[in-house]
């Protein structure tokens, strides 16, 4: 499947996907296929809340529910930098908003893309082969249950916080003579040398309310009728906040590239995942596939059966 660059004849025995049977380089007319060196676009979703699910081993998984709200592609960006390298990105918008609250500038932008006015517009850097036609509605089918994703969102604001909460400082003792400074930062530097505090010294200040990424979250279930993506674990931000979901940089993209280069074709994609919708999972594709898809457990054995 990812053997486009493999020259060993024994690789032909290893291919097990009926969707990628040919080894020839895809022609222009053939549908584009995911390669370990491609980077796909992401989606914009809304964090709806958390619940729990049980996998097929009976293990309880805490899951976060993300919902897509008419996520559409509004532009394909290509910029040539001064050193002649190219930057490619797919601009995605989500969450319809009333026309009268949209500024004239944004109205023109959405009209050019042929989509309804949206609340949030973000772009995802991609490789040149991963551009998506403008106006395409993206669907939850874009992610495959069993794969890993990164979720980016603005974290909950905690206000002005001290060193113990903000930087995990230990504070001082509760007793034994400590006066009035149990939670203070303590010393902030040396003496006459350097005679100042180094810039960047961890101190009290405003905490939270900044863009944070939760990395390598496993997608456990997708529901295309409601546009739901269930990811295992926690996601930054409050309920109903906009989040950006994209393929995990560490556990999907770099692993795929490295394993393909090493020749470990079985490890290119996570266990159980044979392919990824490329360049994107659209609502048209979702109509041809089952509505609800769940990932099996990532464990081989059940933790409830005792080991000998």
């Amino acid at each position: 499947m990812f053997k486009l660059w493999s020259s060993s004849p024994s690789a032909s025995i290893r291919q097990f996907s009926s969707t990628v049977a040919k080894f020839a380089t895809p022609t222009k007319d053939a549908a584009p296929k995911w390669t370990p060196n491609s980077i796909r676009t992401g989606l914009i979703a809304r964090k709806r809340g958390m619940t729990s699910m049980y996998d097929d081993n009976g293990v309880r998984l805490p899951v976060t529910v993300l919902q897509l709200e008419n996520c559409q592609v509004t532009a394909n960006v290509k910029t040539v930098r001064p050193d002649q390298t190219e930057y490619h990105a797919v601009q995605v918008a989500a969450a319809d908003r009333p026309l009268k609250t949209t500024t004239a500038q944004m109205r023109g932008h959405f009209k050019k893309a042929g989509v309804s006015p949206k609340r949030i517009v973000k772009e995802f850097p991609v490789t040149p082969d991963a551009h998506v036609p403008i106006g395409t509605t993206l669907s939850a089918i874009h992610f495959v249950p069993g794969q890993y994703v990164d979720v980016v969102a603005k974290s909950i604001g905690k206000g002005f916080q001290g060193g113990m909460k903000r930087w995990n400082f230990k504070g001082l003792r509760a007793s034994h003579g400590v006066s009035v400074s149990h939670r203070s930062i303590g010393s902030t530097g040396g003496h006459q040398d350097p005679g100042r505090i180094w810039p960047g010294k961890k101190m009290a200040g405003r905490m939270g309310g900044e863009t944070t990424t939760a990395q390598n979250l496993r997608v456990v279930r997708i529901d295309t009728s409601l546009g739901l993506i269930f990811v295992k674990g926690c996601v930054p931000g409050v309920d109903d906040a906009h989040v950006l979901v994209r393929d995990a940089k560490k556990r999907l993209q770099s692993l795929a590239k490295a394993n393909q280069a090493k020749g470990l074709y079985e490890k290119v994609l996570p266990k159980g995942v044979t392919d990824l919708p490329f360049p994107a999972g659209t609502s048209e594709l979702a109509e041809t596939l089952p509505t609800i898809i769940e990932a099996p457990s990532d464990r081989v054995t059940s933790p409830f059966t005792p080991r000998e």
């Binding site: 025995i13 097990f16 409830f304």
Partner: protein, 177 residues
């Protein structure tokens, strides 16, 4: 080694099958049946989505069990002070005891049973949605309003029973009687 064996078996099966898989992106994905209630436009916008998920994520038999035994107003709900027996898929295969508390959190609903086993107080917490919980059987119902069923417990959480074994034996005496 295990994974190459699995891949080998997949190779053998795949080379003989000619039917296209319903989901081409994963060969081990589970395809549960879609729920009976279709997606309404307001659900697609997100209105009431979490309540809908809490209701529909467990399978229908579980949903009915949660509704019957653990809702707040159902006439057959479990009251604290009842004696309940639970059958599990893993060890210990069965456990019975006094219901100390019910923690109602939709699909995360759980309850705690307390029993004295070999002169040792043992408490176990069971999650209703867990596939390992096979059966929940009521041995003795706690009083709903006095009379034949006895006086109802005046508390929702009977953690005071941990310090009074005499009250525990009062409840268990009723079981044998």
């Amino acid at each position: 080694m295990f994974r190459s064996l699995r891949a080998a078996t997949k190779l053998l099966t795949r080379s003989t099958s000619t039917t296209p898989s319903p989901y081409p992106f994963s060969n081990v994905a589970i395809l549960p049946p879609p729920p009976e209630t279709a997606a309404t436009p307001s659900l697609r916008k997100g209105k009431g989505i979490m309540q809908y998920i809490h209701k529909t994520l467990p399978c229908p038999e579980r949903q009915a069990l949660i509704m019957r035994l653990f809702s707040r107003r159902h006439p057959e709900r479990l009251l604290p002070g009842s004696v309940v027996a639970v059958t599990l898929a893993h060890a210990p295969t069965s456990f019975s005891g006094v219901l100390l508390s019910v923690r109602r959190r939709g699909p995360d609903t759980s309850f705690v049973l307390r029993n004295i086993v070999h002169r040792t107080g043992v408490e176990m917490q069971f999650f209703v949605n867990s596939p390992h919980v096979k059966e929940i059987r009521v041995i003795q119902r706690a009083g709903g309003g006095g009379g034949k069923e006895g006086r109802r417990m005046r508390r929702a959480k009977l953690f005071y029973l941990r310090d009074s074994p005499e009250k525990m034996s009062e409840i268990s005496a009723g079981v044998r009687g």
